[in-house]
Symmetry: D2
Subunit: 351 residues, 4 copies
């Protein structure tokens, strides 16, 4: 290109700019890569560093209307200082001090809690008090009012997962304040939603039809644990039950459809026998893992990271993951896979 | 019409006949009534009469290849001597003597068993031994091999439900013999299918996707009983949980879809508090009820019939039914409703 | 079995009978055959014999309230004198004399018309007048009011297809009389439903959502004919477009779902090049074919039958069919396949 | 908060930062607003300014491998210099000079073209040449190879719409180069896909089952135009056919499902009679309109903008829009609505 042409081209680009236009040809490779090239990076957060920071926040920062929640988000180092674990998923540690109350609100964002330790908090979802205990997976689907209150003299912390980044990016957030106090201060060991819905293969005739999200507010640890044990026992007896040798896994589901618990979030629990090494996988979409129990190694895009109880790992889209279990290794996982399945964009590769 | 015309018409009808033709205008009222006018009639079979006949069959008729099952079908008095409870549903009492074996076979007909009393038989479904006990609801979906064996010195009887009349009428039956003996003589208290699938809201990652029928081989009484108790307890606490006051009910479902257990058969369990009287209902499609426990009165098309434990009642299409509970009244029910829902022909009316 | 036992068995069977019970073991082979063994038989009706009988009925039998329609049904020789083409399907020739009116009514039975010759009748479906012309396929889905009127001095005859036998057997018929005259005597060449809906790949924003049946009242011959011609032309050009060599076919669909036009009835049009011989097929469920044009041979369960314009052939469940085209051979077909697909009972075999 | 506490809080925030953590409470209002507060802004691009810039690019910038397409994207003034019309949608003018070829490639991004003027280019989609003419809407669903070639001595420009921003944000892009030349240089007036699929209410038996995207490569102007005219004519005759008085509209659909043409993009065409004023609407998700013909006024979030032929307007999520037609006003529209419907996040309000 000669200097005259070059100058003409620069004038053209300036004129584009003035008209709010941008050419494809200068940026097609970045915009449309041959395979996903996420800005988000694989990263691990250690529970032993997270928890003390949450406790310090408990001492310094009140929880209440306005701030709404004492939640501290994993901020992916690749995502430019935004409080996002991945472009679609929010993951945070939430901390509630003795006798504290997180006020009620509701929003279109889908949310869940997962409890790696502690108890004594009830989350009240549309008026139904739901006890939180180690190993429980608890739902707050979009547009359900919810608040939390700690009925004990001991603080409690847990993990929150939401689709905040996705909803923010797609401009679909609605939010509404509820009462400052939770609307039911009862402390039943089991929620009403479970009493109605958490019976295997049964549904109440008073609640027919498919629903966008699961009506079960809490998936209890004893059921998850037993389901995983049975898969490994069946494998021992010579039957097909596990995902791969030594690797049991369940998916939390919406009993009204058999599908995912919420339209944008998938949640699973994986159990590896000591010594098990998973096949290497990668898939479209991002995941967050939390170690529930045990020790092992995550190999993320070829880099080994040792994880232990409470640690969190983020797996960006199309990053490879292999998990090696040094002890029995129990892993909670959530992901944005339902988005890609619904839009026919899902793809996976297994070694 | 004058005699000449009349004669011409008779000639025409004779000529129709010779060509395998029939006019609509002479029979439209019977063919296309203003509302369903079933040939099948409401009817009640008493367990105290059924069971002794089954026992006599046990003494006289061997079970084995050819006859296949010692099953005695309810033959609706309106259906001209066919062994059909209704035009779509088969209901039978099956009886297995001490140490007897009903050989394996499979067929496209969907089948289930419901146990009103006794235990000691295992039904083996595609190689998975499934214990049968009072209150259990057990599935044998279409084209699954299955046989039964009694491991005790006591006879056992139960109820079979199938879509034999529907499959026969629509000419869609396939049938295949399997081994003379059951393929797994184990006697576990819980089947492998339950160990994999009967955990509330959880599914194994090794078994994803929607299936035509439920993978749960047995729905156990303790879960059904607890789900019903919880509904009544929630009602006592002032929450919406029952179908109508004093009337709790669950539907057995396919956890891979949230829908019915099999494509042609719906199954439910209803519990009425003493003194409860249901609203009068009628619907397109037919049902069979069996009293699991308690006493009460069925009013069928305006006629009262007293029922007690084990008794069976057939409700034809569009017949009205009111149930009055004299004690706590526990009712198992199955129906052909999924056929009508799938084909957009379902309709119901409640008083 | 000794005489004492035999006598005991006879007493048992008599006692069964008294209690409205029937044993499975004496009839399992008939009830649950190894493959479908329909009572219905393959049969062919010749148009040259049908039409004159319809015309004689036109002279002798008035059309009007009560008789409702001058329709003469194909009565399958295997079905014991019932006016059924197959256990699920009704097929009839309907005849309307000059200036005659068939009064309005509606029913849950799904209905269509197919026109092999003639014109001059409008069928009025929920107030929308729909012209009937050779090659058109016209819908009257369940519970739509409809009547017909002949606006000319020439009689017209066509084929009706309905699910009367299925609805009758399953006791799901509702029927209601409408006005004696059609509610709109207009004679537009195209119905309003077509003006709204019959544009390829387009739907009106005023009519969103899935519907149980197609909103298109008439599928016109010119579209069907062109679609078939294009398939054969594409085949000539070396592209995949036909079902098998020389055999083009289209299915009439519900544009709101892409599925069948009505929940119980599938309709298709097949075109064979001269000399084409189809592979032999059999499938669960029954079909009726009408020759629209040309000559050929149907081999039904191994028996050859020559067919020409207007002739009708019935293919029972699991009967084998091969079609041989002597000229270009145009065939209209309808079947009950959607019932079996919806209920997961469909099965087919191709040679 | 006293200075000591303030200092402690700053230390805490610094420690958060070091651990890649961010608190919710300082940013909840921005992250989770009470209703969508998009960064993207309503904006209008004028065709009379766009087209000359595209022509200048045609003189200066070659089209070919690497740059791939001479496409100039609308860059929403609120979106910080990214080539995005909205956070999810890409809209560009593409320009192809006489005899030029845009090489073949494929990508997971879903794409379409809409032609506001000109002709002479064929887009070749998986080997099927598709003519482009004024008023046509043309599909290139994800992972279909496609290239374009201009067979004339006249340049041609059109509008491209894709889900590039959504796919980029969610890290789901796959891209592959194809041949430098188009694989079929034929210039048929109608594509093979249309010959197979663009017949109202008919589908080929060789192409059954639901598909993720429409098999119709081109929706032709004559069908769209006629469908809209018919709606207005039906309205004149007193029948329900339009969206609101004077406002006809069609949605382009996938004939295998009745749903949207592609999983992430909805496309519609709207026609307003002269003088019509639409009700004010807002909805979750973003849209792009292009004026196909006529003049009128868009009121976007209360600000009036006059538009004429070829002009493009962007409507961000939850922005209000009223359209006033000064002449007959023909509008092409595309949006990301299927994303929100699939994920149960859609919401709309009409004045």
């Amino acid at each position: 290109m000669n200097p005259t042409e070059e100058a003409a081209l620069q004038r053209l680009y300036a004129d584009f700019d003035a008209e709010h236009l941008l050419p494809l040809w200068t940026q097609v490779g970045d915009l449309m890569p041959a395979h996903p090239r996420p800005q988000a990076r694989p990263h691990v957060w250690e529970w032993k560093r997270l928890y003390p920071l949450a406790r310090r926040a408990g001492d310094l920062v009140p929880v209440g209307r306005g701030g709404e929640r004492r939640a501290i988000a994993l901020a992916n180092p690749g995502l430019e200082g935004r409080p996002y674990a991945t472009p679609t998923l929010w993951a945070a540690i939430q901390y509630l001090g003795p006798r504290e109350v997180a006020p009620e609100h509701r929003h279109t964002q889908n949310a869940f809690r997962f409890v790696v330790e502690g108890e004594g908090v009830w989350t009240v979802v549309d008026g139904d008090p739901v006890a939180m205990r180690r190993g429980d997976f608890l739902l707050t689907p979009g547009w359900h009012f919810h608040g939390h209150h700690n009925t004990t003299d001991t603080p409690m912390a847990w993990i929150d997962g939401l689709d905040i980044p996705f909803v923010h990016y797609t401009d679909s957030s609605f939010f509404e304040f509820g009462p400052e106090q939770v609307t039911d201060t009862g402390t039943p060991s089991v929620s009403r939603s479970e009493r109605l819905w958490a019976h295997p293969g049964l549904r109440p005739l008073s609640g027919l039809g498919a629903r966008a999200h699961s009506p079960i507010a809490a998936y209890r640890w004893e059921h998850t644990d037993r389901a995983l044990d049975e898969q490994l026992a069946l494998e021992d007896e010579g039957h097909a039950a596990t995902v791969e040798p030594g690797h049991a896994a369940v998916r939390y589901t919406n009993p009204t459809t058999g599908g995912d618990v919420m339209p944008t979030i998938r949640a699973e629990f994986h159990r590896l026998r000591p010594g098990t090494r998973t096949r290497t996988r990668r898939e479209v979409g991002s995941s967050v893992y939390q170690v529930f129990d045990g020790d092992g190694v995550f190999t993320l895009d070829g880099v080994e990271r040792r994880l232990t109880r409470g640690d969190l790992a983020v797996v960006p889209s199309w990053s490879t993951l292999t998990v090696q279990a040094d002890s029995r290794f129990d892993l909670f996982r959530f992901s944005d896979t339902p988005i890609f399945e619904a839009l026919h964009q899902f793809k996976e590769e297994t070694e």
